[in-house]
């Protein structure tokens, strides 16, 4: 399976820097998925969840408040203001989920977007 590079950076540090099979992003015009060899694109990101399909078939969810993304054929670069990453292997996953919820709820955005994102985060908690 083809892979692409993915970077998620915040002013507080790098959240994710590695390869991915696919990534789903909360664009300002709606959610969209990116696979390798995607055409070059720039978009605003709104409050929501970035979900990453890792090369080992694991999933990582990253809650973000707002940011930008730049996609080209081999690489996806996300610049976000603040983010919390949650992966199933984490030991302190429930604390991370709480953190992510707090981050989402603090965002100044439409309530429906926040509610949808919080719902997604809650879904992770249930699935474990």
């Amino acid at each position: 399976m083809k892979l692409m590079k993915l970077e998620i950076a915040t002013p507080g540090g790098v959240i994710y820097d590695g390869e991915a099979r696919m990534v789903t992003l909360p664009g300002s015009e709606g959610e969209f998925g990116v696979l390798p060899d995607h055409a070059t694109l720039v978009s605003l990101l709104s409050t929501g969840v970035i979900s990453i399909d890792m090369p080992d078939a694991q999933k990582v969810e990253v809650a973000i408040n707002s940011g930008y993304v730049k996609v080209n054929e081999s690489k996806v670069t996300c610049l976000v203001d603040d983010a919390v990453a949650i992966s199933a292997g984490d030991n302190d996953i429930s604390r991370k989920i709480d953190e992510a919820k707090k981050l989402l709820e603090s965002a100044q955005n439409s309530n429906t977007a926040i509610a949808a994102a919080v719902g997604k985060i809650e879904h992770i908690r249930k699935s474990i």
């Binding site: 002013p11 969209f32 070059t40 694109l41 605003l44 054929e73 081999s74």
Partner: protein, 295 residues
Amino acid sequence: MANLKEIQRKIKSVKNTQKTTRAMKLVSSAKLKRAEEVAKRSRVYAAKLNEMINEIAQKVLTYSGRADRSRIVVENPNPKTVDIIFVTADKGLCGGFNAQTLKRVNSMMSDFKSNGVEVRLSGIGRKGIDYYRFNKIKLIKEAIGLSSAPDYASASKFISEAVEEYINGSTDKIILIHNGYVNMITQVIKVDQILPVSTELINIDAISSSELEVESEDEDLLFQALLRRYMEYTIYYALLDSMAAEHSARMQAMDSATNNAKDMVKTLSVKYNKARQEAITTELIEIISGVESMK
């Protein structure tokens, strides 16, 4: 005898100075660690943002002929007015840290002036502001306290006006000068051109040949938001970088001051011992010659 006391007093005062400088060095090294950590964490974000802006600017140049946007990326070949923003420390006692920055600002200013370009200065940091006030050179904007405690909101407020003026055409270029951190013992003057965005590409491989698509109905909004973000973050990062550099410069300066004080105490002690021996010898000679004359 008076000489002896004087030397003693001097030794004491130098020792006190040494204590102060040593304490300042310790304080600076603690602060440096924190500042370095903050700067390091935001460095990646700053670099990525830079890369993104550069790539977009490149694309805009290649694929779009729009005048308003290209003003942000295309350099005016005959600039009339240039804004220089400098960042210095609020406090002194950090060696040549501030002087170096000001020297660079001055040389750049005279370069522009000799080409008939008007230069407008704005400054962050008490030291630089005081310097220009003393030399009766007007600053269009000044901020004190921002370089010792960088904060994002104030930094963006500071830059927003300059950017506004650039967009409405009263300036042709914005340059940011600060003394940046390299490592514990090295600082280097960094000169960044904020506007127009330089299209010098950092990573050529990352450029794809296809046209840029914008996933948004209002693409101007996106560009504006991204650009604003870039400006604000550039100046904010410069402040963080400058703070780390300031602490490292101060640490160095205080370290050498402590060493100098140590050397001084050493030479003064030798001088003191010599003077004391001299006094003893004189006294002895007096007694002996007194005894001799009694015989």
